[in-house]
């Protein structure tokens, strides 16, 4: 098989991987078009890293096939790796080297230093220190620089902003958006919904090794929401107020816990009730997945 201009950037068909008979990925069908940014979402242990390892040719599929830019990921792994940049989830580099020496090694392996100096400067990374003395965030920055420095056609990023402070995260989103504008295909693995919404065109959710949902990022907005934990001085009055507003809450000790998509619903419901405690935070991916699954189950039962 050879690459052609019309090939999808990434195509997986019935892709499965088992470790000692234990399935880690089950018949994944996935396609990413050139220039597209796909958010690959899933809780820890869902099969995201296994999928990435199959795409990179680190693992041989138990069954099914995967291609990158038309090249088979296992039998043509070398061609695949020529075209891409990769940032592992838990980036581990050579501690004895300085950041500069590490990037020089990468440049020799790619035969180009590319944008390494510019990227290091944008991410405010000191290249003269030994990698072993770097903080986790700085190692992550160095990992990002090596993945992006040669301007690859395809980027595979496994949780690229973990360990980065919010300011640097914004710089990374900015760089990724520039790459997106220039037509780079990005496979963006994450378990954070909000960052996928910021960067990606489409999303795919994987759970227990199976693709459970995919769609556009605007559809993802319908899935996301916030988790509200509220307690009242007068519990009966509070419960009544929530019922009146049509908000379904469950009891956890003294607290009422509910998920919402529009914060105004809660503000309206709680007006006039004496609130003892209130905590609002975005739903985690696990909670979104749990919510959407239970909604679907309820829907099935009522129909």
């Amino acid at each position: 098989m050879t690459a052609s201009a019309s090939s999808p950037a990434i195509a997986a068909s019935g892709l499965s991987k088992s470790y000692n008979g234990r399935p880690a990925l089950h018949e994944l069908d996935l396609s990413v078009e050139p220039g597209e940014v796909l958010g690959f979402l899933g809780p820890n242990g869902a099969g995201k890293t296994t999928t990435i390892r199959l795409l990179l040719g680190f693992l041989r599929p138990t069954s099914g096939t995967a291609t990158v830019l038309g090249f088979d990921c296992w039998s043509q792994s070398l061609e695949v790796r020529r075209t891409l940049g990769y940032l592992p989830g838990d980036v581990r580099l050579y501690d004895a080297m300085s950041g500069r020496a590490f990037l020089a090694l990468c440049a020799r392996l790619r035969r180009t230093a590319g944008r390494s100096a510019e990227l290091a400067s944008r991410l405010d990374l000191d290249l003269d220190k030994r990698v072993g003395t770097y903080s986790k965030g700085n190692k992550q920055k160095l990992g990002i620089v090596q993945a992006l420095m040669h301007e690859p056609r395809l980027l595979i990023l496994d949780e690229p902003t973990s360990a980065l402070d919010p300011l640097v995260q914004e710089t990374v989103y900015e760089i990724l958006n520039e790459l997106k504008q220039s037509g780079t295909t990005i496979f963006f693995s994450s378990h954070v919904l909000s960052e996928v919404q910021k960067v990606c065109d489409r999303y795919a959710i994987i759970h227990d090794g199976r693709l459970v949902r995919e769609g556009t990022v605007s559809e993802l907005g319908e899935l996301s929401g916030s988790l509200v934990r509220v307690s009242f001085q007068d519990e009966q009055a509070g419960e009544h107020a929530l019922d009146r507003a049509g908000l379904a809450a469950r009891r956890e000790g003294d607290d009422f816990v509910l998920t919402i998509t529009d914060p105004n619903d809660v503000v309206r419901a709680l007006a006039g009730v004496h609130v003892a405690g209130l905590d609002v935070r975005p739903l985690s991916l696990e909670e979104v997945f749990f919510e959407s699954t239970s909604r679907a189950t309820c829907g099935d039962e009522t129909s």
């Binding site: 790796r81 940049g85 990769y86 581990r92 580099l93 035969r111």
Partner: protein, 269 residues
């Protein structure tokens, strides 16, 4: 091109340990050779009290026809200190390069670059080649320095050059087996333990088979059986069958390492 880059990276990583081993070997052989003047006779007397089986076990054959200085040097070239240091060098290179990269997790970034997988075991084999060549060269050079400092003359230099070549081939073979082990391990510690186990079992089998006639047949299974300085010095030339077997072991082990590493799953933890 990527092969050269990987070789240089690995060589830089193990440079310190090689320099340390080289210095230790140098001191051992300069001092050891120099001490012949004071202890050479004592060595000969001690060996003369040994049973023929023990002599055959330790030296790989009878000791007839060896000059006292030759006997002293043969003793040095069979000393466990030398064998241990060379073992440490080849195991360090083999385990650091393959299982070590996987265990440390650095393989994830390294293999995301366009490097054919077989370049990694091959690069490790090349570094082992250079390291063993250098260390054996240091040992031989240090013998020469020790002789000069002691004012001694050695007439059988060519024979000792063949001994050094036999030593080199033995440790290239051991290193290749360790590479084959490392290519199939995910953990640096597991690769170290298995490689050290292989060397120790091999050494003990050779020793036991040499000392105990009932298990003599087992000696062919040990890689150390094919390192025999004494017959080389006596015959003033190499034992070609030993060299052929060591080269075959090297070839098979490297084939297993390259094929195994190229087709295995790479899964860091």
């Amino acid at each position: 091109m990527t092969l050269v880059v990987i070789v240089r990276k690995l060589a830089a990583e193990i440079l310190r340990i090689l320099v340390a081993i080289g210095l230790l070997l140098s001191v051992f052989f300069v001092l050891g050779t120099y001490l012949f003047v004071d202890f050479g006779d004592m060595n000969q007397m001690a060996i003369s009290r040994m049973s023929p089986e023990m002599i055959a076990g330790i030296f790989g054959g009878v000791l007839q026809g060896l000059e006292p200085l030759e006997l002293w040097l043969v003793t040095l070239l069979l000393h466990p200190f030398l064998l241990t240091l060379l073992t440490v060098a080849v195991i360090a290179i083999a385990t650091r390069s393959l299982a070590g990269e996987i265990d440390r997790g650095t393989i994830d970034v390294l293999l995301s670059y366009p490097i054919p997988r077989w370049h990694l075991p091959l690069a490790a084999a090349l570094v082992q080649f250079f390291a063993v060549t250098t260390l054996v060269g240091v040992a031989l050079g240090s013998v020469g320095l020790g002789l000069r400092l002691a004012g001694l003359e050695l007439s059988s230099w060519p024979a000792f050059a063949w001994v050094a070549f036999n030593l080199w081939a033995t440790f290239i073979a051991i290193g290749s087996v360790c590479l084959a082990i490392s290519a199939h391990c995910d953990r640096h510690g597991a690769a170290l333990a298995r490689s050290a186990g292989f060397v120790m079992v091999s050494f003990l089998v050779n020793l036991l088979a040499s000392l105990w006639s009932k298990v003599r047949l087992l000696e062919v299974l040990s890689v150390f059986h094919y390192y025999r300085p004494q017959p080389i010095v006596t015959a003033d030339g190499p034992i070609w069958t030993d060299l052929l077997i060591l080269i075959t072991v090297t070839g098979v082990a490297l084939g297993v390492a390259v094929a195994g590493f190229s087709t295995r799953d790479i899964a860091t933890t």
